[in-house]
Point group: C2
Chain length 558, copies 2
């Protein structure tokens, strides 16, 4: 057992909201069947939330991962009934699955949890799942904290730096976000945020309704539902402006095109929250519990991701288990228009085409890319891809044969799938598979830049450290891998995520010290985007993962 | 105890869906506290569903009626905490409230339930409420029955009658709908429907998209969630065309403007269902569980009513507990646009203004009329009225002083409230209270016709039989009551609901034999709309309540 606690960040103060979430239920009494002491039940509940709920759901009905209810029964459309459940698998088999993982994409937890924890978890998931509490608008409002009043906001940048080439970097397990000067490579600040921030979004340039200073304000969403606001015009010690908690478990955030509102998307309670982007005061909560595309009610219908549409006064809300994209119009919050677009289940993460009209999102466990037409607010297409697509920020480029294309990596397999995405220019050929590239392993992220000849793909999901620690570079010209670059050979480290700098001359790759994530031993490795040679390493980072360049993100450079 | 069982129609076969609903939970075991035998628990559960759930909710969180949870705790906006619950009231006090009613509008149940039933009900509501099951689209599809295939639909009316002056009449407790020839006053058919049909709707003339034969097809919704389709061109013995069940507990139904879809609105599960209007095949379910206008999650967010908008390709769905009107666009079911219009809680029933643009709906326990602008799909106004407004089909007319007005009766008080409703003609004076009329007692329905000088109001909610059995006629000219008409003096009967015939020369009033509702002893009393004299009585009806004239309803004559 190497550092069993560090990897899950349990040394980290997991915010009051977690305590609230986890304090809500006590160990049920069983006449017979699996049982745990109250302490072990509480421990397992917390571990389950941190390690398992993301894929399997707090109610354990499954999503990216399998159903983990004690007993389930499923009737297929042809009437065939299948039964299963953790009780049927039993203690020993469950312990093995948790320890060693499965070929279907389940992680190996023997390095993450202790033997005792695995034993207890196997028992815990044979018991009835406790249901976490709701969170009202009134409760959310009470969590709001203001660190810098609006009247004290600077009217120009206070630090004289080229802030439009700043990188905002998630320091995942440390519950922080770093701000790095992209010109000088200096780490300016480590800003405290929610736990294990998943995504950071900025105010962006918009076709219809420009915000006041695109790219200036950045908003984070922690896994614990805490949203923070960051002002890049401030001196580094004052960049944290305000915060508010809108859920117990959350994943994503976005800013409205006019910069007036933010939206936070939550896993539990299953809802999204609209807040004032200036004051962070929550103003509206919308539940996403609903009926999925198969006609079944889903209580745990989670918001996997939220996006600002570059051309319309709307957000896209990916309601994972429903298989629906909700296009939410923020132009009149009191008379809220939502277009519920049916697509495929297990919607997860996506990116816009270069025009900003079409949104391309992975329906991961459906092995599809779903395309939404944000102008017509309807489904445009669905494209079959490989197992568990996961594009992250995605990549669009021009293929010599197929024309404009986009691509995705996959969680389930070492494949990059590439499809056409120019319905205006090539109406008959749009949304078709162009080609696939076999990489060395499954990954999380793909990325490119209009000025670059290359597309980068990581392999973070491969169990073999050597593959996990290397990224692969694909030629746009040939569609072939031209270089495999090992980012790190440190045990417990992995290579993950890419971001180009403003002019596309550099590619930044994270050397994520995930086995040692509470120490500032992580790095960003900077490459020359043309020669593919390493330029420098930015050190002193806590578990760096996602990176967001101000210019790139606020100008929709994809 | 006079006829304790008849009044609730317990002799009636309460449909398989009820058994499903009620069979879902067993009596919980209590270490201490209130307890019932399993049989008494099941009995009370069924009685609660039939008699109490409408106002108090199946989860007992209250709506029109009070919260009936064993224990509740409420935090006001100023932080004040109030606690209460049925456990605090205790067995004796609960029995008294159930037996004698309250001044707040709670019925007197000593005439409806036996002493033993009241005793058990008092205990039952101190126990935790059992949660009814969900209903999937697949389950609904299995309930569909076709009595007449579409290919066998007649191409012209088969009976040679003036079907556009037919009246379709709810025979409430008998689970039937009568069809009456409005010219000859003959009762043509008693068609079996769901239990205690709440509303019947027809295909209607529409501004944008005319259905094939407006007024020909009628759709009923039973309290048990069964929807039936009736074809008025058929011979009376074949008018029942098809049926499908879409909920365990439901209230309303509507047809799309193009006649292609129907929508059913349910109390439990809290959802609405869109079905093919020809085949009755359900195609889409949308949950209405959500976050109310105060920012609190509401599991039992019930659909109180659904309406076709005469000028737009939409339905209005009143989500009672959320305080939201959802304008649902049926022009693209797979990319379903819903505008969620915030207004006031406890939305119940409403009617359009004469232009068909504005919808006026009661938010009953909020003591408000809410006005929706269906063109802009937004809230237009809210008007304070008296306690518990309930307009039913409502009434619009011209007042000599205020101009175009509309009015409502109230469940809570003997008052007719009248307000202005012509924002195009009188922009500064629209949506303001014009006057109030004091009637003898609280009622359910108000009605008029453009050719009539009078507005009719019933008093069905008054506990005194003499008042309950009389209706009052108000002069449009003076705003004063010009006549009080006693419809019946039979014990256990009440006067309820009005409908004009096609040309407005007659007013039909129900003499509802609610104390004796399984016998065909109910009547419709027909009045001359000009002289206010009784013309005739149509006999042989089972518990007649709501009446729907083909011409009036399919042409939006209000």
């Amino acid at each position: 057992m190497s550092q069993p606690t560090k990897r899950r960040g349990s040394g980290f103060a997991i915010a009051a909201s977690l305590a609230l979430l986890l304090g809500s239920a006590t160990a049920p009494a069983f006449a017979e069947g699996p049982a745990l002491s109250e302490e072990a039940f509480e421990r397992s509940k917390q571990l389950y939330f941190e390690q398992c709920a993301g894929c399997h759901g707090v109610l354990r009905k499954g999503a990216t991962g399998k159903n983990l209810q004690p007993h389930w029964k499923k009737t297929a459309k042809d009437g065939t009934v299948t039964e299963g459940g953790t009780l049927q698998l039993g203690q020993e088999r469950l312990e093995k699955i948790i320890s060693w993982g499965t070929e279907g994409g389940m992680n190996n937890f023997s390095e993450i949890l202790s033997e005792q924890e695995i034993k207890e978890m196997a028992t815990y998931i044979m018991m009835e799942p406790p249901k976490p509490p709701e969170m009202s608008l009134a409760q959310m409002k009470k969590t709001r904290k203001i660190y810098v009043e609006e009247k004290d906001y600077p009217t120009e940048p206070l630090h004289g730096r080229n802030w439009e080439n700043f990188f905002v970097v998630i320091e995942r397990d440390a519950g922080k976000v770093a701000v790095i000067d992209g010109d000088t490579k200096e780490v300016l600040a480590h800003i405290p945020t929610g736990y294990a921030v998943h995504v950071i979004k900025a105010s962006e340039h918009h076709k219809l309704e420009e915000p006041e200073q695109p790219g200036r304000f950045w908003y984070t969403m922690g896994r614990d539902g805490k949203m923070t606001k960051i002002d890049l015009w401030q001196t580094p010690d004052k960049m944290l402006v305000s915060e508010v908690t809108v859920a117990y478990d959350a994943r994503d955030i976005a800013v409205s095109g006019d910069g007036k509102y933010i939206i936070g998307g939550a896993y539990w309670p299953p809802h999204f929250v609209i807040a004032d982007a200036v004051t962070m005061e929550p103003v509206k909560v919308v539940s996403t519990r609903g009926v999925n595309i198969d006609g079944d009610y889903v209580e745990e219908a989670r918001v996997a991701a939220v996006y600002t549409t570059p051309n319309e006064p709307t957000w896209l809300v990916a309601v994972k288990e429903l298989g629906q994209m909700w296009q939410v119009d923020y132009s009149d919050i009191d008379n809220l228009r939502i277009d519920k677009i049916d697509s495929a289940k297990f919607l997860h993460d996506g990116f816009f085409d270069p025009t900003g009209r079409y949104f391309q999102i992975a329906a991961n466990a459906s092995n599809k890319m779903v395309v939404i037409d944000t102008k017509e607010r309807k489904l445009e297409a669905m494209i079959d891809v490989a197992a568990l697509p996961h594009p992250g920020p995605g990549a669009n480029w021009n293929d010599p044969k197929c024309g404009p294309v986009a691509g995705t990596t996959h969680l389930g397999v070492g494949t990059v799938s590439v499809w056409t995405n120019d319905p205006a220019g090539r109406p008959d050929e749009a949304w078709k598979k162009c080609y696939e590239v076999e990489t060395d392993g499954p990954g999380l992220f793909i990325r490119t830049h209009p000025n670059s000849k290359y597309v980068w793909a990581d392999q973070t999901k491969h169990p073999d450290p050597e593959i996990q620690q290397a990224v692969q570079v694909i030629s746009k010209e040939t569609g072939e891998i031209v270089k495999t670059i090992t980012i790190t050979e440190t045990e417990g480290n992995a290579a993950v995520h890419f971001e180009f700098n403003a002019d596309g001359s550099e590619v930044w790759v994270s050397n994520w010290n995930m086995g040692d994530s509470l120490a500032p031993n992580g790095e960003i490795v900077v490459f020359d985007a043309e020669t593919l040679e390493e330029k420098t390493r930015i050190k002193g980072l806590y578990a760096p993962t996602g990176k967001f360049n101000v210019h790139i993100r606020s100008n929709h450079v994809t």
